[in-house]
Symmetry: C2
Subunit: 712 residues, 2 copies
């Protein structure tokens, strides 16, 4: 059995094991009974509204991905090009996989939250933590399991096992890029649509409820409250799942694709990323059992420790398995992957430092809030910008380390050094994303306990139960900050790997041109592309924030109208019209879904066709660099404001109702669309631009030829 | 007489003419009498406080630039390297020139504002506009005059006239880069220090005065009012002068320096940028006379038209003079310069569109303010990001156009195509900056009329006079938005030109290495440098905003203390302690001056020494791309909020005192440090990083050699 076949079989086995684990988790969760009270009633509203939104959203998404599938298949059929036909097929399956991961994951999360509540009613905090984490693990291990299984099956289907030359291997690996592209397309719409929905509902409800009328968050008198709860699920849960599923798949496929251009070691190098990811996936299943047996009382510490345990185990086990499987001479690659894994950890903990109420930054922002909302915003602004530096630096250093280690390892074998180096950078991405399942498990835990706390509030549960729920919830917030940083960091590293994939995949079209010196900064097209590319995440942010603001504004008017026309609502005498609020937000989020999608998909084609393939390379890099910056900034600044508000609510600087608190609430509202809509959408934007550029290379070349423009 | 000698003589003559024009303007201004009333008294406070701040500021600045001068001179002496000695000398003169331009310009502005008031007292709006514009023109033509004269004299001094080979020419031109570096060092401190000062004073005064106590802006009861007035001068006036002086000098020197690497046409190509700038300067003197004779009643239209007239005249006259002087075969260069000139126009007018109350963006932000400050901030945020796209695109297209035109023109002469192309990109910078004197004249007009309006308010002038002053002031605001966009756009183009200068100047050290393919995006060091470079403007923004927030917070406490301890102030019975407020702001601004300075100066040396000269090239590009984005965003978003507030104050959405107005005031306060402190400081940051990298090449190489690292 050759090494690629071994990796594929390992991948299939690990994928099936992970899915079995998911099935087991779902069985355990659904077996738990839940209270048939007011909470269940509200829960039913949320479930229905979330499904309704997903239906509308996936109508749009399906149209788009079917159109792209057709484009790929028809071009393949016309040109009798089996590579393109395979790519089209893989694309279709990638889109379906991503949709399945995010829909099943979200649906499970919704079914879990009400069950967490029933356990909390028994005052069993530890069991509640376990069940909530299991709910999150469903998404987490769907990501890993479906990802590894999908890639392995496609490789088998496209004949990677029987490949006997590097060309045959490449022919089997290249179309798998389509799988990643499919996942990326669905992720974009899931993130953007979910992000607009969740934040429009959140901001709109808060502006009238908390700020104007002065009722608490999650108060059932607020007509926007159901929309807000739905938002947590469709935004945080489905969005994050799709986002990291994409990064996960892409990082593996990117490394494999580059490997097919490295002459003699190609088979080993194609196998390694899959083996690494597979081993890490199985190790992760073991690592999360820590939550089941953790002796710690504090939920947030249990979750943090689980991540650290997972990270360490993965590092150790991948090393050992690498040796056992005969990658002795390539252990430098393990170091490359490790550099990514460590960078991921640093990024996560930096985000935590800048956004947790335990450290200085949040306290400073809370303190400045005493001088009014302007200083809340400004001090948050500077913290947000400070928070970008360490993560950026660690990505830069991981890139450098991986490159030089890989360069040396592979050059030591007498192979092309530069390609070996860029292959290793892609491996750093694989390393960073190896713990994806753990991170997603802990992240998806967030919306589950958030909703549980909301349900407890709305159903009028006793004070003690609500306090326990809040405790679970605050642990969720820490993990959310960490995973947000991790998501953008890994997206940036994945985008860099994809940039290299793009560069490598130009090789067959350019013949003798030395691709590694092609993209010189002294070339005006590279430069122009870079400057334009850097501006795209800014434009994208503008469009998404604009959509949230507009939708929130309409919701504000609707909520105000309900309070005005039916004054009984505030006196608990009348029930608000939740459905209307839900419909408004759904309609707006769907309506504003297309423009960001078009920007992401059209930019690479336009830049490539009119400014050339060199300019496109520049644009991808520009978008990645500025996207990393804006993504980190927006994710962190939003969490800093959020926690500054919570810090004040916990009693600092006058506590609830003080001037400082009012200012902090405004900061929190400003941060909401940045951290949960625009910021995370940038992750997808930079990856989608890079993967679609690679897949569209033949199309761009055809357009340039038709326009009479030179190839480059 | 050879062409370089001709250009130098032309430059000296034009420089002297411009300075004579400045002397004439000053004579006319100072001849105008001013009222010896309460306004004169307040004016005296402002003058003194401004001078006190400048003294403190220049104590720090002088220490820094003397240290760098010594470093250059001592290294030159030790190595018996005349190039380095000349660079040190030029550096010193560049720093002095910049200091002279900004100090004289600001001082004249202060002496002008009180005189504008005396003319307004006679209800003569047109004459008041003329005198205010003359005050601005002093700074404007000091920039052009000193710039052209300084460069020309240094070229003469370093023997450019007698150069007979390209090597001799290069030896004369290269040290002039030091002149630009000196200007850059002073500009950094002028911009950052002035920016922190002006915004801390503004935000601090507004937070207590307008927001808490509810007294109008410029109310003499506010203890921070004098500090606020001083700020307009030390920030807007001195800062902008130093900023554009730097860009102006650098764009010319960058093009000249690249030209010295282009074999046979070097002499013509060295001469051309100086000739172009000289002709544009003289044409500008003619163009601004339009203000003197303008038939238009509306001040803002007169100023806009003057800019358009100037732009057109410069385009036409430079073409004709180019032909007359024998640059027939090089008229492609004129097209390259023109592309920059046009891009500058587009950037200015895009800024105007996004920030003027006459267009949709400002109206939208004002409308959203009805739903509270959070939506003011968010809608402004998206407008700010939208506003970056067109300017970025026009810079990218100007770069491409210039490159291809230059490439063709110079390749047509059988010369190195790539160097010809990058030379032309530098020329686009020269073209954009050719109208600097006009832009600065119109911009420096702003603080003059702003202060005049403030004095009218504080001295209790009659309603009609104050209305006329406000009319003048609002014209100043339009010009301020335009010139802010122009400043960052030209800074980005200058930084790109300097990046090329850096690349060209590596040539002598690298021998046979092909510099144009050196900076490939597939290299990890270039990539790591780029990612790190992109993060620097974000870090810089954080530090500056942080400084403003901290200083404003201290001022808030001081103003609150004065109101609390001396209640008579608010009842007009007691005089506030202006001096204490001034001292606090001065102390804070100076204290926070060094960290941003260190970031700007140390980054290139650290990246170059430890990650290498390739990484440094990447870092410069990354910083330029992200700096352009963040600079445009911050400049525009601040003006959008400012004008949304003014739009509401003019009666929209409930007018003054409405909820929308309160929200808009918060937006304005948030925008203040972004638009006037952090945003403009980024202009200098990206240029300073690029010019210091070029000048420090030999130092970085020495450090790398000492550390045993390879050259690249």
């Amino acid at each position: 059995m050759n090494i690629v076949t071994l990796a594929i079989n390992l991948g299939i086995a690990a994928g099936i094991i992970a899915l079995l684990y998911v099935a087991y988790l779902m069985y355990v969760i659904f077996r738990t009974s839940y209270p048939r009270d007011r909470a269940a009633e509200i829960h039913e509203y949320i479930r229905e509204a979330a499904l309704a939104f997903m239906r509308s959203q996936y109508t749009v998404v399906t149209t788009v991905f079917m159109a792209i599938t057709l484009l790929l298949l028809i071009s393949g059929a016309i040109n009798r090009n089996s590579l393109m036909l395979n790519t089209g097929l893989a694309y279709f399956l990638g889109a379906l996989s991503s949709a399945a991961v995010s829909i099943i994951g979200m649906y499970t999360a919704i079914l879990t939250n009400v069950r967490v509540l029933s356990v909390l009613k028994e005052h069993n905090l530890k069991r509640a933590l376990r069940i909530a984490f299991r709910g999150g693990s469903v998404t987490g291990f769907l990501v890993g399991g479906v990802g590894v299984l999908g890639i392995s099956l496609l490789l088998k289907l496209f004949g990677a096992e029987s490949a006997s030359s590097i060309e045959e291997l490449r022919a089997a690996v290249t179309p798998v890029l389509g799988y990643a592209f499919g996942a990326s397309t669905v992720a974009l719409f899931a993130r953007v649509g979910g992000g607009i929905y969740t934040k429009a509902a959140d901001v709109g409800s808060d502006l009238v409820g908390k700020v104007e009328v002065g009722i608490p968050e999650d108060d059932p008198r607020n007509p926007g409250v159901i929309a807000d709860n739905v938002g947590d699920n469709v935004g945080d849960c489905a969005g994050m799942g799709a986002d990291l599923f994409e990064s996960y798949v892409e990082s593996i496929v990117a490394a494999m694709s580059i490997a097919t251009f490295i002459a003699t070691e190609a088979f080993n190098l194609v196998a390694y990323p899959l083996v690494f990811a597979t081993v890490a996936l199985l190790t992760s299943i073991a690592a999360v059992q820590f939550v089941e047996f953790s002796p710690l009382r504090e939920p947030s510490r249990t979750l943090t420790l689980t991540s650290i345990v997972g990270l360490t185990l993965v590092a150790v086990v991948t090393y050992i398995v690498g040796i056992l499987l005969g990658f002795h001479h390539l252990q430098g690659l393990w170091v490359a992957a490790l550099s990514g894994l460590i960078a991921g950890g640093i990024i996560g903990f930096t985000s935590d430092y800048f956004t947790s109420p335990s450290y200085k930054p949040v306290k400073i922002v809370a303190a400045f809030s005493r001088a009014g909302p302007a200083l809340t915003i400004l001090s948050g602004f500077s913290m947000g910008f400070y928070s970008t530096f360490i993560p950026t630096l660690s990505i830069a250093l991981a890139t450098l380390t991986a490159y030089y280690v890989g360069h040396t390892t592979i050059a030591g074998l007498g192979l092309a050094g530069v390609l070996g180096g860029i292959y290793s950078v892609a491996l750093a991405g694989v390393g960073m994303l190896a713990v994806t399942s753990i991170v997603v498990s802990a992240d998806a835990y967030g919306p589950i306990v958030d909703n549980a706390a909301g349900l407890a509030e709305q159903a009028g549960y006793p004070e003690e139960v609500r306090e326990l729920a809040d405790k679970l919830d605050s642990a969720g917030n820490t993990m959310k900050s960490i995973s947000k940083g991790y998501a953008i960091g890994s997206a940036a590293l994945t985008a860099l790997a994809l940039l290299f994939t793009y560069v490598s995949n130009l090789k067959p079209y350019l013949g003798e041109v030395e691709i590694t010196t092609l993209f010189s900064l002294s070339r005006p097209d590279v430069l122009a592309g870079l400057v334009i590319g850097a501006a795209v995440p800014a434009l994208f942010t503008a469009v998404v924030v604009d959509a949230v603001t507009a939708a929130a504004f309409v919701l504000v008017e609707e909520i105000r109208r309900q309070f005005r026309e039916r004054p009984g609502i505030l006196e608990w005498k009348e029930k608000p019209d939740y459905a209307r609020a839900v419909n408004i937000v759904t309609r707006y989020a769907i309506k504003r879904l297309l423009v960001p999608g078009i920007i992401a998909l059209a930019t690479p084609i336009l830049v490539g066709s009119f400014l050339g393939l060199r300019a496109l390379g520049g644009a991808l890099l520009g978008a990645t660099a500025s996207g990393l910056l804006l993504g980190l900034f927006q994710g962190n600044v939003g969490n800093t404001w959020d926690n500054a508000k919570k810090h004040i609510e916990a009693g600092a600087f006058g506590g609830k109702g003080s001037e400082a608190h009012k200012a902090a609430v405004i900061g929190d509202t400003v941060g909401d669309p940045l951290k949960d809509a625009a910021g995370p959408s940038i992750n997808i934007l930079i990856k989608l631009m890079a993967i679609s550029s690679t897949v569209f290379i033949p199309f761009i070349i055809a357009i340039r030829t038709a326009l009479g423009l030179p190839l480059l």
